[in-house]
């Protein structure tokens, strides 16, 4: 199931892209990234005596210094908050749509909110209809030296297309329902 994104910049915040955030996360893990992997490699068959630096030890120490230098030049990021809602479009026109939002975490009551239709993206905005599902995500990120920033996005849930098999199932259930309905309705 494909998805499209509209990324919204908070007007007063710096932009923090998702790619940058993921890189920050990878740097935080001890064995991630090609630089770290080459550092821990050792020369097969070498041995080390206490107090005597060997060729293998010398390479490892220098490599570790390089790791530390790289880590110090990267800005640490921390996601300090994330809120998600699942919404259903209530009304929509060319400019604005209204969605009823249910908090995924259950931390906020059911809401109504208006969004710019163009934020659904050029592919989805023209096709969105009342009843369609949208996902809303708001992230708060703290970066050293840059303060708190916020990113948010709203995207339409794409459901794909009906297959013949699914249509056949629907039609069969419809026929069964109509047969029983005949006995139930005056």
């Amino acid at each position: 199931m494909s998805q499209s994104f509209g990324t919204i910049e908070s007007p007063s915040a710096h932009r923090v892209s998702e790619t940058l955030l993921e890189t920050g996360n990878k740097a935080a893990t001890p064995d991630a990234g090609p630089s770290a992997a080459s550092i821990v490699a050792t020369t097969p068959g070498s041995s080390t005596s206490v107090g005597q630096p060997s060729a293998a030890n010398t390479v490892s120490a220098a490599a570790m210094d390089e790791v530390h230098r790289q880590q110090q030049t990267r800005e640490p990021f921390q996601v300090v908050g994330m809120q998600k809602w699942v919404g259903r479009i209530v009304e929509i026109d060319d400019e604005v749509f209204t969605a009823e939002l249910t908090s995924v975490s259950g931390t906020s009551p059911t809401l109504l909110a208006d969004f710019q239709t163009r934020n659904l993206g050029p592919d989805d905005a023209p096709n969105a209809r009342p009843g369609d599902i949208v996902y809303v995500t708001v992230r708060s990120v703290e970066a050293v030296g840059r303060g708190s920033t916020m990113t948010s996005n709203v995207r339409l849930r794409r459901l794909g297309r009906w297959t013949q098999s699914e249509v056949d199932q629907i039609e069969e259930l419809t026929r069964r329902k109509m047969r029983s309905l005949a006995d139930l309705v005056d």
Partner: protein, 342 residues
Amino acid sequence: MGESIVVHVGGGKWVIVDSCRNQDGSVAPLTYLHGIGVDVARDVLLVVGTHAHDDHISGLADVFAQCCRARFVCSQALTKEEFVALTAQEDLFSDLLRESSYAEYSRILKLADEPNRRSAGGIKPLVRAIAGRPVMDAEISPVGRVVVLPVSPSDEAVTRSLRVLATARARPDNSRGLRRIDPNELAVALWLKVGEKRILLGADLLVGPQGCGWIAVLATFIPDAKASLFKVPHHGAPNAHHDGVWDALLQPAPLALVAPYRAGRNRRPSESDRARIRSRTPHAYVTAPTRPPLPPRPTMAALSSIATNVRLANAMTGQVRARSQVGDERWDIAMTSPALRL
């Protein structure tokens, strides 16, 4: 958000029209009736779903489930294959399509099929609302004759709506999705005769187009007496206002009741809607303010980067209660906050 009407038709018997939920999720008409000691399993005669918009149908299946002796009334279009196919889509692919108003009707159809639903006389649990054909006509002591008469939808409205419903039917290679299609033209407006009183419940019925809506009602329905109570249709919106309704079907200065609509950007009744209604009657009441309450500040702050006009979907349920004694023309009004005079 939403509206629901409960009508005492005399002798401890009730009719429920539409359903909505309270702020805590409980079903408003059931909460009210339980609160005043009504045995809904025994004393509710009819449950009416005027149309399948969320603000009229939320919790309706729960209502029908508990009112196990009641018959369910809905537009005849909702018993046709075009609509039933949409409930089948909902049944089979609800995890994909997520809950929709069709889920309520789907459950209602299943409830109607349960063995305990048929009366000893073999009376069927579902009744089609067809304009001009009563869905109830009974003598109830001490009130007298009670008639519940749908005045809409017209045949033309049903035909038009079925064409629209058919476009939403699943076809191979069409986009999946359960589009909300329930034109207000399909709405079931009800004329009630309760003894000597007449009541017009306007649902969300619109003015037209030609052959549909209030235009069709005025062309085909001539009451034996005018109504003294009017549930204003479609939240007071201008596309549901027809002067002919006020002139031909309602007494001068009737009691007018309005339920607000706060889900969309155009909230109803607007200031001009209120002025229009007040120009027809000074006795107008709305069950809640048009402006919805705001959510907690942190929630608003979180969404402010991407959304505007953030508000609570569900708020405290207001109530307007109109009571009139047998043989008395007056209506006594009691309001439960946040209901107010229009």
